[in-house]
């Protein structure tokens, strides 16, 4: 038992290092991101679905859109409000939400998700290069 002090010291060092991120960041929780709407989005008032639905389910909606457009060739989305939309990420979503960095990226960065939509879909359809 003569190594006891080394073991205890080692365990303490381990616990300190392992819990370092928790006590170092204590009380400094990053504020929830605020997404900005463009003038066009504000003027439109309604998105393809309600805001709550879009917040929670936009990824499922986009997944449905891609399945429908690519595999079934059905490209028109009639929202519950009766409006018709062309089902296109670049041409419809980003037409209103043309501020990707302030709208998409803020939340995605906050929750640390990295969707690879933008590898192919053009992220700023309205801007000139």
């Amino acid at each position: 038992m003569k190594d006891k002090k080394f073991i205890v010291a080692g365990v303490i060092v381990f616990i300190v290092i392992a819990t370092f991120p928790f006590w170092y960041n204590r009380g400094k929780a990053a504020p929830a991101p605020v997404t900005l709407l463009t003038e066009k989005a504000k003027a439109a008032k309604v998105c393809v679905r309600s805001t709550e639905y879009m917040k929670a389910e936009h990824m499922q909606l986009l997944d449905l859109w891609r399945e429908s457009v690519v595999r079934r060739g059905e490209r028109v989305y009639v929202s519950p409000g009766g409006r018709q939309y062309n089902m296109s990420l670049s041409n419809t979503c980003l037409d209103c939400h043309s501020n990707k960095t302030e709208f998409c990226d803020r939340c995605h960065d906050y929750v640390s998700v990295d969707p690879y939509c933008w590898d192919c879909h053009i992220e700023n359809p309205k801007e000139k290069t």
């Binding site: 393809v48 679905r49 309600s50 639905y53 449905l64 891609r66 429908s68 690519v70 595999r71 079934r72 060739g73 059905e74 490209r75 028109v76 989305y77 009639v78 929202s79 519950p80 089902m87 670049s90 041409n91 690879y116 590898d119 192919c120 879909h121 053009i122 359809p125 309205k126 290069t129």
Partner: protein, 263 residues
């Protein structure tokens, strides 16, 4: 616990009763979920062009030199964001020109007339009726659309295994060995690009057909290419096939290409 025969039988009876009642509860649960927000409808654009099997007829008599083909290739590659790589091994192409003996290796007689030997022939994905690429694809990223016979690529699903490239007897498919974005001369912002590691090919301009436009190459050809429904006897392609001698590429393989050449 007292597990007499009577008790076991009682339990069994209760369980089967519960199972019988379950669908009723399910139905209630569904109704409630639907009541929250009415469902959205997904449909086709009424302007969309429809066919049982799209087909193309290329009038090779009207194409003399590379210069005749160039604007059509340009039209296609521009609207689809097809990258231009200097390195031949990285080349990506949807529609391009090859000499006769490459386009029709099984029909190339010896000592061909110089005109046929030197003339360029358009080649593109044949949108076969029996496509071998579709059978080779392990993820169903490439598939034959039942509604109009177009052999399509779903780039979201493509894992870049290149089985389809090996399976296609026409070399119609290209692989993105590098990130294509920096190599696109003029970006068409309304159409996506591709990413490194996916296979791409001609899509018969599905995005244009869906809004009632003919494919870009057909539009740019000023009547040298015809596009229509192969199974409609009154369609322009059927009339051309019926009134001219046409050939198809590697017909003996049985893939039933849907691109016909008037020679």
């Amino acid at each position: 616990m007292d597990s007499s025969r009577r008790r076991v039988l009682q339990l069994l009876g209760l369980s089967s009763l519960a199972l019988a009642v379950k669908p009723v509860f399910n139905a209630f649960a569904k109704e409630e979920a639907q009541a929250e927000e009415p469902a959205a409808i997904v449909k086709q654009d009424p302007k969309a062009l429809k066919a049982k099997q799209w087909a193309m007829v290329i009038d090779t008599r009207k194409f003399e030199t590379e210069a005749d083909l160039e604007p059509l290739v340009e039209a296609c590659h521009k609207i689809h964001n097809v990258p231009h790589f200097e390195n031949k091994r990285h080349e990506v192409k949807w529609i391009w020109a090859v000499p006769y003996h490459n386009a029709f290796p099984d029909k190339a007689a010896r000592f061909l007339s110089e005109e046929v030997e030197t003339k360029p022939f358009f080649v593109l994905c044949n949108h076969c009726e029996n496509p071998p690429c579709v059978r080779a694809c392990p993820t169903q990223a490439t598939f034959k659309r039942a509604s109009d016979g177009i052999v399509m690529m779903d780039f979201h699903r493509c894992i870049g295994c290149r089985f389809c490239m090996a399976a296609c007897p026409f070399g119609a498919r290209s692989f993105n060995y590098r990130d294509p974005r920096p190599f696109i001369k003029e970006l068409n912002r309304e159409f996506p690009t591709r990413m490194m590691g996916v296979v791409e090919k001609c899509n018969f301009c599905v995005e244009r057909l869906a809004v009632g436009q003919l494919p870009a190459c057909v539009e740019a050809s000023e009547g040298k290419l015809a596009f229509g429904d192969l199974y409609d006897p009154a369609s322009n392609v059927r009339k051309l096939i019926a009134s001219n001698y046409t050939i198809r590429r590697k017909q003996a393989l049985g893939t039933e290409p849907a691109v016909y050449y008037i020679v």
